[in-house]
Amino acid sequence: MESIIAMRGIIKRFYIGQPNELEILHGIDLDVAAGEFLSIVGASGSGKSTLMNLIGALDRPTEGSYFLDGEDVGQADDLSLSAIRCKKVGFVFQNFNLIPRTNALKNVELPMMYAGVSPRRRTQRAMELLAMVEMEDRMYHQPNELSGGQKQRVAIARAMANDPAIILADEPTGALDSKTGRLVMDLFHRLNRDQGKTVVLITHNGELAQETSRVVTMRDGMLYEEGC
């Protein structure tokens, strides 16, 4: 099966002050096939979010090679990274990160605006996406007028805007109660099952992880397939 994510020997170091370098990821190999629903579990501070930023092309690895849907992220310049994030990745954050003072519709339109989609087409698609997450009646609401679960559903619609190769969700239910968290999880399952979207989910919650097609564990900057 074709690999959407192909990581080989990924090392990530942070430089805090000149002599102090901090190695967070110590050589990670990861392959994710198209249509997989992968969850990454692990203790807080183990490096999950750091890995996720690399997968989402927000950052470049210090060492190693990484191809995302055929694009060489390791060698890309800033402009290419923006383009990769725009077209290939849909981010869902723990704290939603909706743009304030901008209604749900405009939030969903935003990635399409950066992709250069015409205003008419992006409004139409944003409406469809909001209908898909059952938020069509809250289209014109500002983020501060929405509940946490509603915000996250808008954020998921926004992540789908440019029909990305992968959806990256970093603890998307972390700020939600278990009932709304359940609804959000169901939404990811639907995207994966009905639309064949590749989903990478980071979570604390082992139960939620068990529902996905594959679970990997992050421990001190190393990645282990479940059972290891």
Binding site: G56, L58, D59, L79, K87, I99, T102, L110, Y114, P119
Partner: protein, 429 residues
């Protein structure tokens, strides 16, 4: 890029709405700067148009000739003292012989010479109707030299003066008040004029068109009906009453036949001064109307430069205020910037967003400034008698300036936002 400009403008306006007070305080420097520029340009333009217009109406080619104190060493070159006319001994005033000699010497340069003497203000009455007047004794050259247009009848003549006849040229306003506006019917009629308790009867021989002095009319509180207009009678008729010496003049207005009236003025001064070389106290002074106009416009220029400098400083301070608030805004919205980058915004998209925001702040400030400046300018020019609005040019200039300030002072904060590391920005709390 073009596609998200509208969206950026919407976002910027939204941001201003959410922080009205902060936005207003930020814009204050821009508002004051732009407002004062517009106000000054409006008043200045109105005023100089007014002054030059008024002076042209009074005869741009006219030269005033008068007596002045002979300057001692101390205040030689003092402009004010050289412009102050003084009253000469009556028998030493300018004589007809001098004026004839002057015209004979410079027939190509020296035009008609107007002389006048005021009698005082008074009132013309007829039954219950009245008209307020200033009575002036003038020679036959006075009305042409001052560009006063006769609309019915005739000008005063030399014979009227020689015979000191009781004839008058009156304004069309007086005809409105006294003769019901019938200018032809007014000719040949008598007007009874009360001055200082005495009543004099003058036969109307001509009617002139009254042009209101805009600046005076703005200051005066008189109603339309009560406005005083000039009533002209022969000079010698006045001299008879006042007892001043016939054939001697303290003050002349000479129309220049050459366009270089300042050169003609000095010819006249040199020529007439020859009659007064032996006078220890007085000499002849001249002032070309052109010189006055030049002086007024250079004064206006200096004034507008001074105020432009103040406005410039205010705009600079305003620009720095905008930069400051933009830096605050970038810091406050670090997470938003990170999010936008995660969603695919390029550095250029982010830079554009913040430059647009800064430009919008400055444009809104500029717009408020233009409105305020237009109001101030209108009020100021209204007080000066020529109510006028800002010109299209000055409005465009103000908009251009606001925009430039927005770009200039917004670029640094916008660039700072654009260069934020997306991960750092997303982790920012």
């Amino acid at each position: 890029m073009g596609l998200d400009l509208r969206e950026n403008v919407r976002m910027a306006l939204e941001g201003l709405r959410a922080n009205k007070m902060r936005a207003l305080l930020t814009m204050l420097g821009i508002i004051i700067g732009i407002g004062s520029v517009i106000g000054i340009l409006t008043v200045g333009e109105g005023l100089s148009a007014n002054i030059t217009g008024e002076m042209a109406a009074l005869g741009a080619q006219n030269i005033s000739v008068y007596f002045q104190e002979r300057p001692d060493e101390e205040d030689a070159g003092n402009l004010l003292s050289s412009m102050t006319s003084v009253w000469m001994e009556e028998e030493d005033g300018f004589s007809d012989e001098m004026l004839e000699a002057l015209q004979a010497q410079y027939p190509e340069q020296v035009g008609p010479i107007a002389v006048d003497e005021g009698l005082g203000s008074g009132q013309v009455t007829k039954g219950r109707d009245y008209a307020n007047v200033y009575v002036y004794g003038v020679n036959e050259n006075y009305l042409p030299v001052y560009n006063i247009e006769i609309i019915a009848g005739r000008n005063l003549r030399a014979q009227d003066n020689e015979g000191a006849r009781n004839v008058a040229v009156v304004s069309d306003k007086l005809v409105n008040n006294i003769f019901g506006g019938d200018v032809q019917g007014a000719l040949g009629q008598e007007v009874l004029t009360n001055i200082n308790g005495e009543t004099y009867a003058y036969t109307v021989v001509g009617v002139y068109e009254y042009t209101q002095n805009a600046m005076m009319s703005a200051i005066s509180t008189a109603s339309e009906r009560d406005i005083s207009t000039e009533l002209y009678i022969p000079l010698n008729t006045v001299k008879r009453l006042t007892g001043s010496m016939i054939g001697r003049y303290q003050y002349l207005t000479i129309s220049s036949l050459s366009t270089d009236s300042q050169a003609v003025a000095s010819l006249i001064q040199d020529f007439l001064n020859r009659y007064y070389v032996n006078n220890p106290d007085y000499q002849v002074g001249v002032m070309a109307m052109e010189t006055m106009t030049d002086m007024v416009s250079s004064m206006m220029d200096t004034l507008s430069i001074a105020i432009s400098v103040i406005a410039g400083i205010s705009l600079l301070v305003g620009g720095i205020g905008v930069m400051n608030i933009m830096l605050v805004s970038v810091t406050e919205r670090t997470r938003e910037i990170g999010t936008r980058k995660a969603l695919g915004a390029t550095n250029g998209n982010i830079r554009l967003q913040f430059v647009v925001e800064s430009v919008i702040i400055c444009l809104v400030g500029g717009l408020i400034g233009i409105l305020m400046g237009a109001c101030l300018g209108y009020f100021g020019s209204y007080l000066l008698g020529t109510p006028s609005g800002p010109t299209l040019g000055s409005i465009l200039l103000a908009f251009g300036f606001s925009m430039a300030i927005g770009v200039f002072f917004g670029y640094y904060p916008a660039n700072k936002a654009a260069n934020l590391d997306p991960i750092e920005a997303l982790r920012y709390e």
